[in-house]
C-alpha cells in the first residue's frame, strides 16, 4: 500500500520535473525568438532602403536642385544644405546651455536644483516633437511674421537639448575625481578647474554626444513642419555669390541664409512620398538612403568611440 503510494508520488514528481524543465526550455527559447522578431524590422528596413535607394543614386542627386516633374535628373541639394544649416543652428543654440547644465548636473546631482534639472530634462525629452513645433511657431514664426531657418534651428535645439545634457553629464562623471581635486589643490578656482581641466579631458566623449544629438535632430520632421516649412529653391551658392556681388557684409549673408524658409532631408522625403508620381517616390527612397547612411554612420562611429573611451578611462 505504502509502496504504491510512494510510487505514485515519485511518478508525479517526475512528471512535474519534466514539465518544469519543458516550460523552462520553451520560455527561454521564446525570449530568443522574440529578440529575433524585434530585430527583423531593422534589417528589413535597412535592406529595403538600400535596395530601392541605390537605384537612383548618382552624383547629380547631391549637386543639383530639384527639377520640375517630367524633366530628367535633378537632385536634393537644397535639402542637404538645409539639413546642414538647421543642424548647425540647432547645435549652436543647444550646446552652450546644455553643457553648462550638464556641468551643474554632474557636480551637484543631489541639490534641489540638480534634481529639478534631471527631472525637467527627462520631461523635455518626452515632449512630443510636434508640440515643440507648435511652441516654436508661437514664439518665433508668429512674431517674425514668416517661416524661417532660424525658427527651425530653435526647434532643432529643443530636440537636441535633453540628449546633449544627458550624454555630457555622463561623460563628465567619467572624469576621475582626483583630477578635479588636484586642480583645486593647486589653487585653481572652480570655474578654471571645470573649463580647463575637466572639460578637456572629457571633450572627445562630449563631442560624440553632440554628434548623436545632431544625428537625432537631423532625422526629425515634425518640429520643422511649421517652423522651417521647406524651400525648393534654397541654394547656399546663389545666396553667397549674389551677396558677395552686392558687397554685402558677412552678417547680411548669414542673415539671408537663416532668415528664409529652409528645407531638410526628412521634410523632402515626407513631401515626395505623398506625391502620386513614381519619380518622386523613387527619389524619396534615395533620400531615405542618404539619411539612413548619415545617421547610421554617426551612430555606429559614436558608439564605438564611446565604448573604447569608457574602457580606457575605467580600465
Amino acid at each position: 500500500m505504502t509502496t504504491q503510494f510512494q510510487e505514485l508520488i515519485a511518478k508525479n514528481q517526475v512528471r512535474l520535473a519534466m514539465r518544469r524543465k519543458f516550460t523552462n526550455g520553451f520560455m527561454l527559447s521564446v525570449t530568443g525568438f522574440l529578440t529575433i522578431l524585434a530585430l527583423i524590422p531593422l534589417f528589413w528596413i535597412i535592406g529595403y532602403v538600400f535596395y530601392k535607394g541605390f537605384a537612383y543614386l548618382n552624383l547629380s542627386f547631391f549637386t543639383q536642385l530639384p527639377r520640375p516633374l517630367g524633366m530628367e535628373g535633378g537632385g536634393v541639394l537644397h535639402a542637404i544644405e538645409g539639413t546642414i544649416v538647421l543642424s548647425l543652428l540647432g547645435a549652436i543654440f543647444a550646446i552652450p546651455p546644455g553643457v553648462f547644465a550638464a556641468f551643474y548636473a554632474s557636480r551637484y546631482p543631489n541639490t534641489p536644483i540638480g534634481i529639478t534639472l534631471r527631472f525637467s530634462t527627462d520631461v523635455l525629452s518626452g515632449v512630443p516633437s510636434i508640440v515643440i513645433g507648435l511652441f516654436v511657431y508661437a514664439i518665433m514664426v508668429k512674431p517674425m511674421g514668416h517661416y524661417s531657418g532660424l525658427a527651425g534651428g530653435v526647434a532643432m535645439a529643443l530636440v537636441m537639448l535633453p540628449i546633449i545634457i544627458r550624454t555630457t553629464e555622463e561623460m563628465l562623471k567619467l572624469v576621475p575625481g582626483a583630477l578635479r581635486e588636484g586642480s583645486l589643490a593647486l589653487g585653481a578656482a572652480e570655474w578654471k578647474t571645470s573649463l580647463s581641466v575637466i572639460f578637456p579631458s572629457a571633450l572627445s566623449g562630449i563631442i560624440t554626444g553632440f554628434l548623436l544629438a545632431i544625428s537625432r535632430a537631423a532625422g526629425e520632421t515634425a518640429p520643422l513642419l511649421f517652423t522651417a516649412l521647406g524651400n525648393e529653391r534654397y541654394d547656399l551658392k546663389t545666396i553667397v555669390t549674389s551677396g558677395i556681388a552686392q558687397h554685402q557684409s558677412i552678417f547680411m549673408i548669414f542673415g539671408r541664409i537663416v532668415n528664409q524658409p529652409v528645407d531638410s532631408l526628412p521634410l523632402t522625403l515626407w513631401k515626395y512620398a505623398q506625391q502620386p508620381y513614381p519619380e518622386r517616390i523613387q527619389q524619396s527612397w534615395t533620400v531615405a538612403l542618404v539619411l539612413m547612411i548619415v545617421i547610421l554612420m554617426i551612430n555606429i562611429a559614436a558608439r564605438v568611440w564611446v565604448e573604447s573611451r569608457k574602457r580606457r578611462l575605467q580600465g
Binding site: 524543465k21 516550460t23 520560455m27 527561454l28 521564446v30 525570449t31 530568443g32 522574440l34 529578440t35 524585434a38 530585430l39 524590422p41 528596413i45 529595403y48 532602403v49 546651455p97 553648462f100 547644465a101 556641468f103 557636480r107 536644483i113 534639472l117 525637467s120 530634462t121 527627462d122 520631461v123 523635455l124 518626452g126 515632449v127 512630443p128 516633437s129 510636434i130 508640440v131 507648435l134 511652441f135 508661437a138 514664439i139 529643443l158 545634457i165 578656482a189 572652480e190 570655474w191 578654471k192 537625432r216 532625422g219 526629425e220 520632421t221 515634425a222 513642419l225 511649421f226 515626407w270 512620398a273 517616390i281 524619396s284 527612397w285 531615405a288 539619411l291 539612413m292 551612430n299 565604448e307
Partner: protein
Amino acid sequence: MLKPIKPLPKNRWIKRSDEFLRHGDIPWQIILIAMSLLIMVLIIAIGWMLWHDSADARSLFGWGFLTPTSDASWDPVHDNFEAWPFIYGTLLTSLTAIILAVPISLGVAVFMSELCPEWLRLPLNWLVELLAAIPSVVYGLWGIFIFLPIVVTPVSNFLFETAGKIPGIGVLFAGPVPESGVSRLGAAFILTIMIIPTITAVTRDVLLAIPDSQREASLALGATQWESIWKVLLPYGNSGILGATILGLGRALGETMAVTMVIGNSIEGTLSLLRPGYTMASIIANEFAEAVTKLHSQALIEVGLILFVMTLVLNVVARFLVWSVARRIPTEARV
C-alpha cells in the same frame, strides 16, 4: 636666506570684488544655475504658450471639445471643432501598440540581461538602439509601400473574418478592410516597432540593477532559470517595468510622422481598428500649416495642449516609478 616675498600692491576695489566673487566662482555658479533652471522654464513656457494661444477655442467649445461623441464634427468652414476622433485614434493606436510591444520588449530585455552570452550583449544593445535611431519618416515610407501591403492587409483580413464576428468586441474589428492596408492597425504596428527600443532599454536597465543575490537565492532553492526570471526577477522589478511601459506609451502618443503616413487620415465615426483614422499628432501635422481661420489654428493648438498634458503626466508617473526602483535597490548591491 630667503627674503620674505612682498605681496604685490593691489587695488583695494579689485581685491574686494575678487573676494566677493570668490575669484570668478560666483558668476560661474550663477551661469550654471541659470542654465539648469532654463530647462524647467522652457517646459513651463511650452505649457503656458499652448494654454494662452488656445484661449478662444477653450472658452468657445469648453469640455465638449474632449467628450466622446459618435458624430463629432471637425469643420473649418463653419468653425465647429470637436477633438474626440483624434483623442480616440491616439488612445486606440497607442494602447494597441503597448499591448503588442510589452511582451516582445520583456522577452528581448530578459534575453539581453539574463540569457545571452557576454559577447553578444553589446552588439544586441547596439542593434536595438539603431532601431530607435531610424528616422520616423523612414519608418513611414517603409510602412506605406512595404509593411502595410505585405503584413497589415493580410492580418486585417484575418481579424475581420475571425474577431469581427464576435459580438461585443466585433465593433473594434468592423470592416470593410481597406485594400492598401492604411488603418489604425497599421499605425499601431508601426508604433509597436518604434517603441520596442524604449521599453527594452529601460526594462534591461531595471533587470541589470537587480542584485545577483536574488538570482542566486532563487536558483539555490531549486527554481529553474525561467521560474527565477518569472517569479523573482520580474516581480522584483515590476514598478520599473511599469515605468518603462508608460514611457513607451508616452512616445507612442507623441509619435507624428510615421503614424501620419500610415493611418490614412480620415475622420469617420467608426470605432474599428481596421479602418483609417486620425491621431492628435497627425491632425496637427496635416492641418496646422494651412489653418486659415484663427479658430481653426486655436483648435489645433488646443489639441496640442491636450497631447502635451497627457505626455507630461505619463512622463512624471513613469520617471517616478523608475526612480522608486532605483532607490529601493541598496547602493552597495548595485555593481
